[in-house]
C-alpha cells in the first residue's frame, strides 16, 4: 500500500496559480527528493500537504485513507487538521525552534502535551513522562547532540539547531518526514552534518520527502527524484533517470545551470 498519495493538488494565491495539479505517490521507507528552481511550487507543495496552506483542490491519501478531499464542500475542522498534521513531520528551512526551551524541551514539548489527551495519562503519568523523555534523549543522541540537550537554541550553531528540529519532528513518529530546504539557511561548512543525519535516517528506512537544492546529495540519498517547474511535476523517476537522462528541456536547462556554477 502507498504510504502517501497526492492526486491533482492545486493551489492559487490570488490570481497566481502556484500548484497546477501535482500528483505523486510513495512507498513506505522510500526517500523522495523534490528539485526545481525557486518559484516552481516545491515549498507550497510541502506546505499544502502539511496543512499550513489549504489546497484549493486535489486529494491526499495516507495509507490508503483520504485525509483531504478538495472536492468536498465541507471544510476540515481544526481538530481534523491537527489529526492530519500528526501523520507528518516537517523540518523547516529556518529551524523554528522554540527559543525559550532547551534542546530537550523542544523535543519533548509536543509529545508531553499530546500525552495529556491519552485516556491512561492520569494512571500512568510518571511512566509516560519518563518514556517521552528517554525517547527524546535517544533521538538527540541519534542526531549527535547528547552533550547539548540542556542548551538553549541561541547557544547552538545553525547546524545543531537544525538537528534539534529533526529530532523534534521525529519525536512524534511521523509516517512521512518532510524537509523544506533543510540546509539552505546554513553556512556551507555546516550542511554536511545535516546531510549525514538525513542519510542515517534513510538507512533506517524513514520515509522522507526532501525539497533541496543539493543535487549531489539528492542523487546519493534518494530512491526517487521529482523535478518540478511552474507548478507541475515534469520528471519523476530514479536519480539516474531524472539527473542523467532528463526528458524535458526545462530539466536539462535547470541541470545545466547548476553545472555552470
Amino acid at each position: 500500500m502507498k504510504i502517501l498519495e497526492i492526486k491533482d493538488l492545486r493551489k492559487s494565491f490570488g490570481k497566481t496559480e502556484v500548484l497546477k495539479g501535482v500528483s505523486f505517490s510513495m512507498e513506505e521507507g522510500e526517500v523522495l527528493s523534490i528539485i526545481g528552481s525557486s518559484g516552481s511550487g516545491k515549498t507550497t507543495l510541502l506546505r499544502s500537504i502539511n496543512f499550513l496552506e489549504e489546497a484549493d483542490c486535489g486529494k491526499i491519501y495516507v495509507e490508503g485513507n483520504c485525509i483531504y478531499d478538495g472536492s468536498s464542500a465541507k471544510k476540515l475542522t481544526a481538530a481534523q487538521v491537527r489529526e492530519n498534521q500528526l501523520n507528518f513531520g516537517l523540518v523547516f528551512q529556518s529551524f523554528n525552534l522554540f527559543p525559550q526551551y532547551t534542546a530537550l524541551e523542544n523535543v519533548t514539548l509536543a509529545p508531553l502535551l499530546l500525552a495529556k489527551e491519552r485516556s491512561d495519562y492520569k494512571a500512568n503519568k510518571k511512566a509516560i513522562i519518563e518514556e517521552i523523555e528517554n525517547n527524546a534523549k535517544a533521538l538527540l543522541e541519534r542526531v549527535g547532540l547528547a552533550d547539548r540537550m540542556d542548551n538553549y537554541p541561541c547557544q547552538l550553531s545553525g547546524g545543531q539547531q537544525q538537528r534539534v528540529s529533526i529530532a523534534r519532528a521525529l519525536a512524534l513518529n511521523p509516517k512521512v518526514l518532510f524537509f523544506d530546504e533543510p540546509t539552505s539557511a546554513l553556512d556551507p561548512e555546516l550542511t554536511g552534518e545535516i546531510l549525514r543525519v538525513i542519510r542515517d535516517l534513510a538507512q533506517k528506512k524513514v520515509t522522507m520527502v526532501i525539497v533541496t537544492h543539493e543535487i549531489d546529495f539528492a542523487r546519493n540519498v534518494s530512491d526517487r527524484i521529482i523535478f518540478m517547474a511552474d507548478g507541475v511535476v515534469l520528471e519523476d523517476g530514479t536519480p539516474a533517470d531524472v539527473l542523467d537522462n532528463p526528458k524535458h528541456e526545462k530539466t536539462k536547462a535547470f541541470l545545466r545551470k547548476l553545472n555552470d556554477k
Binding site: 499550513l52 498534521q85 523554528n96 525552534l97 522554540f98 525559550q100 509536543a110 537554541p153
Partner: protein, 215 residues
C-alpha cells in the same frame, strides 16, 4: 506631634490608596488588555471595529476626562449610589487595558509566523501554541514598553483626586489649604520616586531572568 510627622503619616495613608489603585488596575487591566488585543486582531469585522473604536476613544481623550465621565456621569443620568472608588477603577482599568492591548498586539504580531507553524505541524492546539510557545516570547518582548506603562500608572493615580479620591497627592494638597505650606507636595514626590524606583528594580530583575534566551 511635629508637622513633619503629621504630613508623613498623611502621605503614607494616601500612598495606601495610591497603591490600591495601582495594584487593582494592573490586576484587571492586564487580562482585559489581552482580551482587547485579541479583539483588535480579530478577522471578524463586527468584533474588530468596535474594539478599534474603543481603543481610539480611550487613547484619544484625557484620562482625567474619563475619570470625570465615570465619576459624575452616572449621577447626571440619575443613577445614584455608585461608589466613587468604583468609578475610578472603571476609568483606570479601561484606560490602561486599551494601552496594554496595543502593547500586547505589537508583541504578538512581532512573533515570527514560523513559531506558530512549528507548533501546528507538531499537532498542537491553537491555545497550546499560544500559551506554551508564543506568550513567553511576547512577555520578554513587551517588558520594556510595559515598564513604561507601569511607571506612568504610578503617577497617573494622582489624577484620581479630581473626583475626590484621597490618594497621596490629594493629602499633600490638603496641607496647602489647611496649613498654608507647599512643601508636602514636593515631599510627595519622594514617595512616587521610591515607588517607581522599586518597580524599576523589579523590572530589571525580570529582564535579567528572561535573559537566558534570545528571540
Amino acid at each position: 506631634m511635629s508637622i513633619f510627622i503629621t504630613v508623613t503619616l498623611s502621605l503614607l495613608e494616601g500612598l495606601l490608596t495610591t497603591f490600591k489603585i495601582f495594584a487593582l488596575t494592573l490586576l484587571m487591566a492586564l487580562p482585559l488588555g489581552l482580551i482587547i488585543s485579541f479583539g483588535s486582531m480579530s478577522k471578524i469585522k463586527v468584533i474588530k471595529w468596535p474594539i478599534k473604536t474603543l481603543i481610539w476613544v480611550i487613547r484619544g481623550t484625557p484620562l482625567m476626562l474619563q475619570l470625570i465621565v465615570f465619576g459624575f456621569g452616572p449621577g447626571l443620568l440619575g443613577i445614584d449610589g455608585m461608589d466613587t472608588f468604583v468609578a475610578v477603577m472603571i476609568a483606570f482599568v479601561l484606560n490602561y487595558a486599551c494601552y496594554f492591548s496595543e502593547i500586547f498586539r505589537g508583541g504578538i504580531e512581532g512573533i515570527p509566523k514560523g513559531q506558530y507553524e512549528a507548533g501546528a505541524v507538531l499537532g498542537l492546539k491553537k491555545s497550546q501554541i499560544f500559551f506554551k510557545i508564543i506568550l513567553m516570547q511576547v512577555v520578554k518582548r513587551i517588558i520594556p514598553p510595559m515598564s513604561n506603562e507601569f511607571l506612568t500608572l504610578v503617577k497617573d493615580t494622582s489624577l484620581a483626586n479630581t473626583i475626590m479620591i484621597y490618594e497621596i497627592t490629594w493629602n499633600a494638597k490638603r496641607f496647602m489649604n489647611s496649613e498654608h505650606i507647599l512643601w508636602p507636595l514636593f515631599y510627595s514626590g519622594v514617595f512616587y520616586l521610591a515607588f517607581c524606583g522599586i518597580l524599576t528594580l523589579i523590572f530589571g530583575y525580570i529582564e535579567k531572568k528572561l535573559d537566558y534566551y534570545k528571540g
